[in-house]
Point group: C2
Chain length 157, copies 2
C-alpha cells in the first residue's frame, strides 16, 4: 500500500491552459463508496486499476496495478458505473512540485481543479497565481462523487 497525500484546489482564469502537456484521461468506477473506491483508468495507451481507502485529512491508502489496455476498455465499456469521467490533464511544474490540472469534460464540463501530491501533510509549497480556493476533503469534488452528482447539476459552486 502506498499513502497518497494530496491537496486539491479550484483553478482561476486561463493562464494554466498554455502550461504543461495535455493528456486525455477516461475513467470509471467499479466501486464509488465513501469507504473505498475501485477505479479503472485509461491514460494514453495504459490501463490502470486503483483502489483507494477513504480520506483521512489529505491522506488516503492507495493500491495501484497496471491493467492490459483491452481489459481496461472492457471494464469501462461494460462494467463501470455510469457516467464515466473524462478530463484533460495537464502536468505543470512549479517551484519544485508538479501540479495536475484536470479540466473536466461531458457532464462535468466547466469544472477545473488542480491537485498537488506532497510527501507529508504539512509540506509547504508555493501556489501559482491561477490557484484558487482549497477544496481538499470536500466530497462533492471527488471524482467518485462527480459520477453521482455531476458539476452541471450543482446549484452552488
Amino acid at each position: 500500500m502506498g499513502v497518497e497525500i494530496e491537496r486539491k484546489f479550484l483553478v482561476r482564469g486561463d493562464a494554466w491552459r498554455t502550461l504543461g502537456a495535455a493528456t486525455l484521461l477516461r475513467q470509471g468506477y467499479l466501486c464509488a463508496d465513501p469507504e473505498r473506491t475501485v477505479r479503472v483508468r485509461i491514460e494514453g495507451e495504459q490501463g490502470v486499476l486503483t483502489i483507494k481507502s477513504k480520506n483521512e485529512g489529505a491522506s488516503r491508502g492507495e493500491w495501484e496495478y497496471p491493467l492490459p489496455l483491452r481489459d481496461a476498455e472492457e471494464l469501462l465499456d461494460r462494467l463501470c458505473e455510469r457516467p464515466l469521467v473524462e478530463k484533460i490533464r495537464r502536468r505543470i511544474d512549479y517551484q519544485g512540485f508538479t501540479w495536475e490540472v484536470d479540466e473536466f469534460l461531458g457532464e462535468n464540463a466547466g469544472l477545473v481543479v488542480a491537485e498537488i501530491e506532497l510527501p507529508a501533510e504539512d509540506t509547504a509549497f508555493e501556489r501559482p497565481e491561477w490557484i484558487g480556493r482549497e477544496v481538499t476533503g470536500e466530497r462533492r469534488y471527488y471524482n467518485s462523487s462527480l459520477i453521482r452528482l455531476p458539476f452541471s447539476k450543482w446549484t452552488t459552486a
Copy 2:
C-alpha cells in the same frame, strides 16, 4: 475478459470429505453489488483480485489479476466489507470434470456447496452421488450475498 460458466449445487452427506486436497480460502469484497463484484482472495500464499459481471444464466464475465500477498492481506484487513468469507475448498475430480466443494466457516458454517466449471452452458456431466439440489443463479448462495445475509441467519434453507 474470460467468461466463467459455472453451475452450483448443494452437497449431501459426508462422502466428499475424504476426497480431494483441502485448502483454506479467505476472501472479501471491495464491491458486492448485484451488477458487479470485486473480490480479494488469499489461497495459500497467493493473492488474487477478481472482477465479475452479473450472471446471465450460468455465465458471467470475469477479469482476474494476481495480487502481492501483502497487498491482499492489507485489502482484506483494512478495506473489504465485513464479514470476510472463509471456507475450506476441496477439488474433487469426477468423470473428467473437477468439482470444487466449498465448506463454509464462521457465520456461514453449515453451508456446503459444490461448483463445476463448464466449457459451455449445455455441456453434459455426471453428478457424484453427494451432489444435491442445483442452486445456480440463486442469489442468496452467492459468496457476495453471504456477507450481507450469512447462512447462520437464514430462516429457510
